[in-house]
């Protein structure tokens, strides 16, 4: 945590600026919903009757799937028109990270680092297949969990806690209650 990374207070202040400006001008930041929107957009291409125009729905769209149909078809409508605020925000977020990395920000500095962090390599070896499978499974659990919780680190922990939302504190409690013991268990032993 040295090259390309700001001291913690400056990094925190920059993050705070992003969260504050988003609430000031539009709404709190959130990311994980967009995984569902991306899925639904693909699903709608494969199976066109999964999102249908419906004048009686609040969003103008309905779905036979209960989740996409929830809140007046909000997710169904977003998947039909991907050029909406939240989806474009997430794409731009990827652009911002790429831009920062190009402008001497944090980026992987070796072929191995592009596939796994050193802390993983020290503990589990440098086989990329092992790391990729672990990341796939982790991603699966993380997004299933985030959708069950109705938000992720951005939406619940950062945006939620800044607004003093009860849900934000409950989420943070749940997340760190498993993440910290598991990370200690997995990575605080030196085997190599």
């Amino acid at each position: 945590m040295c090259k390309g990374v700001l001291p913690w207070m400056a990094g925190g202040a920059l993050l705070a600026l992003a969260f504050f400006l988003a609430v000031l001008f539009v709404k709190p930041i959130g990311v994980s919903t967009q995984f569902v929107i991306a899925d639904a957009a693909v699903w709608d291409i494969v199976q066109p009757d999964i999102i249908v125009a419906d004048d009686t729905a609040k969003s103008g769209y309905a779905s036979p799937n209960a989740y996409l149909n929830k809140s007046g078809g909000k997710y169904a409508a977003a998947a039909k028109d991907l050029l909406n605020y939240s989806f474009v925000f997430v794409l731009a977020m990827m652009g911002g990270a790429a831009l920062s990395a190009i402008l001497k920000g944090d980026k992987p500095h070796s072929a191995t680092q592009k596939t796994m962090p050193p802390v993983w390599e020290n503990r589990f070896g440098n086989q990329t297949a092992k790391r990729y499978i672990a990341c796939f499974i982790a991603g699966f659990i993380v997004l299933f969990g985030a959708r069950l919780a109705g938000g992720c680190t951005s939406g619940h922990m950062m945006s939620g806690m800044m607004q003093t939302a009860l849900s934000g504190y409950i989420f943070a409690l749940g997340a760190f209650a498993t993440a910290i013991p598991l990370a200690i268990l997995l990575f605080n032993r030196t085997t190599r």
Partner: protein
């Protein structure tokens, strides 16, 4: 106009995640194993500063309370959070930082994203069943509530005897103090050569 905002704030957020060190799974894992808490300090400081700024802005009428959006608290928030924590510790990525990390050239993040798309899809298919057959969507303490009064009538506050500004700004200050006093290193051998700064 809205899409212009989406692009500007998205770029800023992604840039900030990268400069705070959050797109590097090494930093996330070292934070979670309590080896290097600088990222934790940055996150706690960010929550504190943005809370103090938000509630100050609400108090002087600079921020429209309609922009407040309080998510509902229910049993699934705790369970889902706990599930997220498991994957967070294994990979060192969360949904936002996984996407951002992939954009900085990390290939393992792509597998995290593909796994995430699959997990989100299975959840999409499971939602109806979960809603009908389980109690995971049972509200906690009234559901969409905040500790502090925000001025948005859609959401109740748990604490009404003290003005929302005092609670919100007070919470923000406490978080910033915690960020400052939290030690950088707690467990394990010191890994980074510059860990003392």
């Amino acid at each position: 106009m809205e899409l212009t905002f989406a692009i500007i704030f998205g770029l800023l957020f992604g840039f900030a995640l990268n400069r705070a060190g959050a797109t590097n799974p090494e930093n996330i894992i070292n934070m979670l194993r309590l080896n290097d808490l600088r990222l934790m300090k940055a996150i706690i400081f960010a929550i504190g500063l943005s809370a103090a700024a938000l509630f100050s802005g609400l108090a002087i009428g600079f921020i429209d309370p309609a922009h407040i959006s309080i998510k509902t608290a229910y049993i699934g928030v705790l369970i889902g959070g706990a599930l997220l924590g498991i994957g967070f510790a294994i990979a060192g990525y969360c949904p936002g930082t996984g996407l951002a990390a992939f954009a900085t050239g990390r290939k393992d993040a792509l597998f995290f994203i593909i796994g995430g798309l699959c997990g989100a899809f299975i959840y999409t298919l499971s939602f109806g069943w979960l809603a009908e057959n389980t109690a995971v969507f049972t509200d906690i303490a009234g559901g969409s509530v905040s500790l502090a009064q925000t001025g948005n009538d859609k959401y109740d506050a748990l604490i009404t005897s003290v003005p929302g500004t005092v609670i919100g700004v007070g919470f923000g200050l406490v978080m910033m103090i915690i960020a400052a006093v939290l030690p950088v290193h707690l467990l394990g051998p010191k890994t980074a050569p510059d860990q003392d700064d």
